[in-house]
């Protein structure tokens, strides 16, 4: 009998534990109040949810980190740590031999800059390579390995001046000849990255200058030189057997171990700016599951990781800091104008008015996704000041019904809608299904895993509509407009063409200053709103990184990428 009672007691304890763990949200809320005072981040919620897939996790965007944690982090690290003057002051408090562990989903299959298959993997390999041209955290082009560049008046050549005195990880100099070898290698590759610098016809090297003969717009070429196509590898390593796991790069870190579990890096002591690389080791862990990454953060086994909106209460209650940034990516629906109905601006306008952006952004994304009808958040310099939801996409189901009737679809319309097997997007598809259903548009939703989905929206387009995250600013804004709004674009099976798109795009791709670029982007946004876009933007999500409070220098690039050059761990 005693043993029976003991068994019952064990069972009761187990049930209590289960019940206690089941009430996650309540717990998080109640503890977060206690923790707020000691926590660097005051954040309470966030957007961006789901997505352990490439595109979704690679959100990016707008301006500055908006919460306390973000500002503190960027003040302490981003500026002081990377600033030569402030660096000395910082050095005393920083553990220069520290190790930083970052967790990501979907590890890059290769560390070879042109073997990488997705833009998302930038963050995994950026530490290994310096680029010919660089970008600052707001996405502006700044000198990289090329200390300056000059474009001829007739836009036919670009001359790059290469900084002297830098070396690859194998000790060979990064000179004009090496830059030429790298560009030739990318151009002759069969990879998607070759397209980034397809505007280069030929490359010549002499002394410390590289001359590019151009056959395409210089703006696009510069964007490519700041991206995967511009990453520099030692020519001695081009044919190395282990190029995918141990490439000879030019950046502040060298890969020391690559496995399915993750990538390990160690600082390259010959790096030209080694004094400002404030940690010695770096580990990128491959953890696909969002909850597992969060558990690793909570237990202190992970230093930095991407978190979702719904996880922020738990992040706060664990005393973790956050950095967040609105991103140049939007959630939304994309129409295939091969469908006769969707080719009709009246129908597209009806869909625009049938989506209640504000309530979805607030209710589903807890305010961490800015409602928009543009491809950008309002903080992005290229966003159009007049392109407001109120003016171009106010929720008005009655108006939507009228427009449908006017277009001849008063009796209803059925559209096949593809989405991903990722909760954020399948949930969105269900919401669209309900809201469009109210105005008489039936969505037949097809949910596919990422590899199938990419085929369904690119090479074998089967959709009337698709629901997915749309990156709109990476590496430059031009890619998005080409793919979605120019006839022949890779995401434009119906060859939908914005009026005057060729000229508008040429303005963008030829722009060499931030001012001109932003003006050109605004012109494109304005034209798309006038024409009624084929991409129905819902909202621009905020990207949220959580990190331990002894980690600093965590900053999110305007494109949503993150590099580890400025990160550091406080000593002690």
């Amino acid at each position: 009998m005693k043993k029976f009672r003991l068994l019952l007691a064990v069972l009761a304890i187990f049930t209590l534990i289960a019940a206690a763990c089941g009430g996650d949200d309540d717990d998080a809320e109640s503890t977060s109040t206690e923790q707020e005072s000691s926590d660097a981040s005051g954040s309470s919620d966030d957007a961006g949810e789901a997505a352990s897939d490439d595109s979704a996790s690679s959100d990016d965007g707008g301006e500055e980190a908006s919460d306390d944690g973000g500002e503190e982090a960027s003040d302490d690290g981003g500026e002081e740590a990377s600033d030569d003057d402030g660096g000395d002051e910082m050095t005393d408090d920083v553990d220069r031999d520290g190790r930083i562990i970052f967790a990501t989903s979907n590890l890059s299959p290769s560390l070879n800059n042109i073997g990488v298959t997705s833009e998302f993997h930038w963050t995994h390999i950026d530490a290994i390579y310096d680029t010919i041209v660089a970008t600052d955290n707001d996405g502006n082009l700044i000198p990289g390995v090329a200390e300056s560049w000059e474009v001829s008046d007739d836009l036919s050549t670009m001359t790059l001046t290469i900084t002297e005195g830098r070396t690859f990880h194998d000790g060979t100099p990064i000179d004009a000849a090496a830059v030429k070898a790298n560009l030739d290698r990318v151009l002759s590759s069969e990879t998607q990255w070759a397209a980034q610098i397809a505007g280069i016809e030929s490359v010549a090297a002499e002394g410390n200058t590289v001359t590019l003969t151009l056959q395409g717009p210089p703006g696009s070429v510069l964007g490519g030189l700041a991206d995967f196509a511009g990453m520099l590898m030692s020519p001695a390593g081009f044919d190395a057997e282990d190029i995918d796991t141990n490439p000879i790069g030019s950046g502040p870190f060298m890969a020391t171990n690559y496995s399915e579990a993750g990538i390990e890096f160690t600082r390259f002591d010959g790096y030209h700016d080694v004094a400002n690389i404030l940690h010695k080791d770096l580990e990128v862990l491959n953890i696909a599951d969002d909850n597992t990454r969060l558990a690793g953060l909570q237990s202190g086994e992970i230093d930095i990781a991407l978190v979702r909106a719904g996880q922020v209460p738990q992040v706060d209650s664990a005393g973790l800091a956050t950095v967040r940034r609105p991103i140049t990516q939007v959630y939304g629906l994309v129409a295939n104008t091969n469908n006769e109905a969707l080719a009709d601006p009246l129908v597209r306008q009806a869909i625009t008015h049938a989506i209640d952006r504000n309530s979805i952004a607030e209710g589903v994304y807890l305010g961490e996704c800015e409602p928009t009808v543009q491809p950008y958040p309002s903080s992005f310099p290229g966003s159009h000041p007049d392109g407001t939801v109120e003016d171009f996409g106010a929720y008005d189901p009655d108006r939507a019904r009228e427009l449908l009737a006017e277009a001849g679809y008063g009796d209803g319309l059925t559209l096949t809608t593809y989405t991903l097997t990722i909760t954020t997007y399948s949930d969105q598809a269900e919401i669209y299904q309900a809201q469009l259903g109210e105005v008489g548009i039936t969505l037949d939703v097809v949910v596919e895993e990422p590899r199938q989905f990419i085929a369904s929206v690119t090479t074998e387009p089967r959709y009337d509509l698709f629901v997915a995250p749309i990156p709109t600013g990476r590496p430059t804004a031009a890619g998005f407009w080409k793919n979605y709004y120019q006839a022949g674009g890779s995401r434009n099976p119906g060859d939908f063409a914005l009026p005057d798109i060729d000229n508008l795009l040429a303005d963008l791709e030829n722009a060499l200053t931030a001012e001109d670029t932003n003006a050109a982007v605004q012109a494109l946004v304005g034209a798309s709103l006038e024409e009624v876009p084929r991409m129905f933007a819902l909202c621009a999500p905020t990207i949220i990184w959580a990190h331990q409070d002894d980690i600093g220098g965590v900053e999110i690039h305007a494109t949503g990428r993150y590099n580890f050059r400025d990160a550091y761990r406080m000593a002690g």
């Binding site: 289960a18 299959p109 298959t117 997705s118 496995s259 862990l285 597992t292 237990s299 086994e301 369904s456």
Partner: protein, 314 residues
């Protein structure tokens, strides 16, 4: 156990491996999207994909590709990953220790908990038995990922006794290894333990009702001697059978458990390979797991004769 029987079983095993690998090959090719689209990136053009497909030989007939692969595989060459060019054998060797550790530890957890729980329930009927039935039903019903999350919440995040993520190889010390293996093994082993407990209980109850047990008792045998000498071996056959069947389930379950604990084992390798349609990796994984399941079932069959000489004679 005749040599002929053994050869017949081995022949059957080879056939199972062949059929499984060919079915998987067909399935991989029937699903939309292939490795070429994975390599081509996020925004491929049909031309780029066609070019990569041709380079990798993915445009050849499915059966040609399969038999090419099978010819190499028979010679022990599992080729390279299409996606990252890494040697498939190396990838599997790298991932195997984590999966093997978790799976074997889960078997130990399942045997220890399952047999002791089932034996107690079978020997002590009444309230103990009823509680055991409820607990085993719960164990079978609770999905391993949920148990894993629960364990992480309590033992990693609340109590801090175990790490929440990752795996450490034995070479880093048995302490670190055990710390990292314990929770995944429990999460994976609970359902198996519950099933074993059920079978053990049933076996024990059946054996306890046999005349020879009554006779043994009448002769004065009781307690531990009765259980070890007369009950355990006779009640073991259904347990061994279920153990063999559960190994297959464990290999499936470990995929989920590895995700929950962020462990880069074979399960993670398989998930990534399927996502990327990495044919050589998928095939090697399938062949390997099929071999494991087939061999374990063979061992289970052979063990019947050792456990019960009557079966051997039949």
């Amino acid at each position: 156990m005749s040599l002929r029987y053994l050869l017949r079983r081995l022949g059957g095993a080879v056939l199972v491996i062949f059929l499984t690998s060919i079915v998987v090959a067909l399935m991989v090719h029937l699903v939309p999207g292939d490795a070429a689209s994975a390599i081509a990136g996020d925004d491929p053009t049909p031309e780029q994909i066609a070019e990569i497909r041709e380079r990798l030989g993915l445009d050849r007939p499915i059966l040609t590709q399969y038999f090419d692969w099978a010819g190499d595989a028979i010679r022990g060459d599992f080729r390279q990953s299409i996606v990252n060019n890494r040697d498939v054998t190396e990838l599997i060797t790298e991932a195997l220790p984590a999966t093997l550790s978790i799976t074997l530890a889960a078997v130990v957890v399942a045997l220890v908990i399952g047999i002791s729980f089932g034996a107690i329930a079978g020997l002590r009927r009444g309230a103990t038995d009823r509680v055991a039935s409820i607990v085993t039903s719960l164990g079978i019903a609770m999905p391993s990922f949920w148990i894993g999350m629960l364990l992480v919440s309590v033992f990693s995040l609340e109590l801090g006794w175990f790490p929440a993520i990752g795996y450490r190889p034995l070479s880093e010390g048995p302490g670190a290894w055990l710390e990292h293996v314990t929770l995944p093994a429990i999460a994976l082993g609970v359902a198996m333990a519950a099933e074993i407990a059920r079978q053990t209980r049933g076996g024990v109850i059946e054996v306890m009702g046999q005349p020879y047990i009554r006779t043994a008792r009448a002769k004065g045998v009781s307690g531990g001697a009765l259980v070890t000498r007369h009950v355990s071996r006779n009640a073991a056959i259904p347990v061994v059978t279920v153990l063999g069947l559960q190994i297959g389930r464990l290999l499936g379950g470990v995929i989920v458990v590895e995700q929950v604990f962020g462990i880069a084992g074979l399960g993670t390798l398989a998930v990534n390979a399927v996502g990327n349609r990495d044919f050589p990796v998928i095939q090697a994984y399938v062949v390997m797991t099929t071999v494991v399941v087939v061999v374990i079932n063979l061992i289970v069959d052979l063990s019947y004769g050792w456990i019960n000489p009557k079966v051997r004679n039949e």
